[in-house]
């Protein structure tokens, strides 16, 4: 509510500022016309036109400000009404679920459905299951499905396009939030829809539905089919990533399929690697490590970044990370430098010391930051580089990083810079 008010206040302040500026201009023109007019330079008709213009502009300004205030109050009232309605229904449903009160007669109004779905998103356990039963009692999944399909029929009517799409998306959103297993099949059908926003809504609905399915053969099959469908979809990477995250504990299976499948595109592999890192899918660390030597630099960089995020280098992956330190692409080298923090200090520290002299500023910076993260040994190596490295850029980076980290004071940094 405060955000709503905050936005309204900001808009109102901007509007009033605009109107004040307008009025200032109007008054300036009016004053000028009065001064010039009294000297007889301006004809009466022109002066009259300027006065009429000024009055009209002022009237318009007052009308705009008043309309804004009225509209704001009407919208606020309506919004409060919706929130209040959902709150009342939430109270009623809480009585049904927790105190065994009688469930109301169907069909439910929109607020009643919204409150029940919102409650399902908050509760788990036996109370969540009770709400699932209420979904079935009121046929909420089948009504949502009908809404998604009705939109499909309506859009064929003249002028029904936008409204039909909104109806379909509403229906798909309800299906996604209800997470009813019987919605899986129809949602799969929507994946081949010609409208990208419908395909996106269907994909997210499928992911949520699978995530809520109890572990079973049905869930395994559904996951297989989802995984296969994901590999053929042309939706943007961000949408695929969101869907994978929504899968919850099944995400590792689908991301693993994408990493291992020969028919997965490069962008799919990149999505899977991103999810491995973000969701901490440790079971896929070997798959990520296998891609450190990929022919494409973006895949190599993403694989190393995924390992960095996991905070784990699988056994045998160290040589490929060390090889990536000599990669021709600076972004890959920079990621490999960060990953060295996960290797043993005996191996990492000397290599990072050398990389402080890399030709890329980013790699030098990463090397210095990684050394700082490697405790006393890393710090000592950085200080050594600051004092004794034969490379001017390595010395500069080491001094600057020590200064930034508060390891040395500005006077010491100046002495180090001047010493060599």
């Amino acid at each position: 509510m405060r955000t709503w008010r905050g936005r309204g206040d900001a808009l109102y302040a901007s509007l009033i500022l605009g109107l004040f500026v307008l009025e200032t201009v109007v008054l300036a023109v009016l004053s000028w016309a009065a001064l010039v007019g009294s000297g007889g330079v301006l004809p009466d008709s022109a002066f009259r036109n300027i006065v009429i213009g000024a009055v009209l502009a002022t009237g318009l300004a007052v009308l705009l400000a008043t309309s804004f205030v009225l509209l704001y109050h009407v919208l606020t009232q309506r919004r409060a009404g919706v929130v209040g309605g959902i709150g009342e229904w939430a109270s009623l449903w809480a009585g049904v679920v927790f105190s065994g009160a009688a469930a109301p007669e169907g069909p439910l109004p929109r607020d009643g459905v919204e409150a029940l779905i919102a409650m399902r998103e908050v509760l788990r356990g036996v109370d969540g299951t009770r709400i699932d039963e209420l979904f079935q009692t009121y046929r909420i999944p089948s009504m949502a499905l009908e809404s998604a399909r009705a939109g499909f029929r309506r859009r064929r009517l003249p002028g029904g396009g936008r409204q039909a799409l909104a109806g379909r998306l509403d229906g798909l959103e309800v299906l996604a939030r209800v997470r009813a297993p019987e919605a899986f099949e129809p949602l799969m059908g929507f994946l081949s829809d010609e409208t990208p926003s419908v395909r996106r809504a269907a994909l997210q609905g499928l992911a949520r539905t699978i995530a809520a399915m109890p572990s079973s053969t049905v869930r395994s099959r559904a996951t297989e089919r989802f995984s296969a469908a994901l590999r053929t979809t042309d939706l943007p990477a961000g949408v695929l990533e969101d869907a994978l995250i929504l899968l919850g504990d099944v995400a590792s299976k689908v991301a693993g399929d994408l990493l291992r499948s020969p028919d997965a595109s490069r962008s799919h592999v990149l999505v899977a690697l991103s999810v491995v890192g973000k969701m901490g899918l440790l079971t896929l660390s070997d798959d990520a490590a296998a891609l450190v030597g990929d022919p494409h630099s973006d895949v190599r960089a993403s694989a190393i970044r995924a390992l960095c995020r996991l905070g784990y280098l699988p056994p045998g992956s160290e040589p490929s990370i060390i090889a990536a330190l000599r990669d021709e692409v600076e972004f890959v080298r920079s990621q490999a430098v960060r990953a060295l923090a996960l290797a043993s200090a005996e191996v990492a520290v000397p290599k990072l010391h050398c990389l402080l002299a890399d030709q890329s500023w980013w790699v030098r910076r990463s090397a210095a930051q990684t050394l700082l993260r490697m405790g006393a040994r890393g710090g000592a190596a950085l200080e050594d580089a600051a004092r004794r490295s034969p490379d001017k850029y390595a010395r500069q980076m080491a001094v600057q990083s020590l200064l930034d980290a508060g390891k040395i004071d500005p006077a010491e940094a100046r002495r180090m810079r001047e010493a060599v």
């Binding site: 405060r2 959902i86 109270s91 927790f98 908050v122 109370d127």
Partner: protein, 128 residues
Amino acid sequence: MGQVLVVEDDVVVCRVLEHVLELEDHEAIVVHDVSAAKDVLATHDVDIVLLDLMLPGGYGLELLTYLRREVGMSTPVIVLSAIKHEQNVVEALEAGANDYVSKPFSPTELLSRIRKWVEGREDLARTR
């Protein structure tokens, strides 16, 4: 049984918590933002706080930091949030939260945690 301050902006969660708390005769005081929560804490000696993290006009941890560092209040705080990231959980516990429950939650489990902290507080008061 005890007085529970619920700091939560979602109307549905508020109603659910009111009913759940009523099951064990707890009195719920519901507020929707950090500043209202500070006002209640200044005037009531609540037994426990249920705190959401994403609140309008402020992050729930601000209230936690205010309670622990500025006011020095030892009232148990259970963070009840949809954010499940390990980092956020650690952040909340380090800021002084006694417990962290992620949404969706089980009401039975939540009540059991509340009971544990309220009884612990009562035991502590008795030994003093």
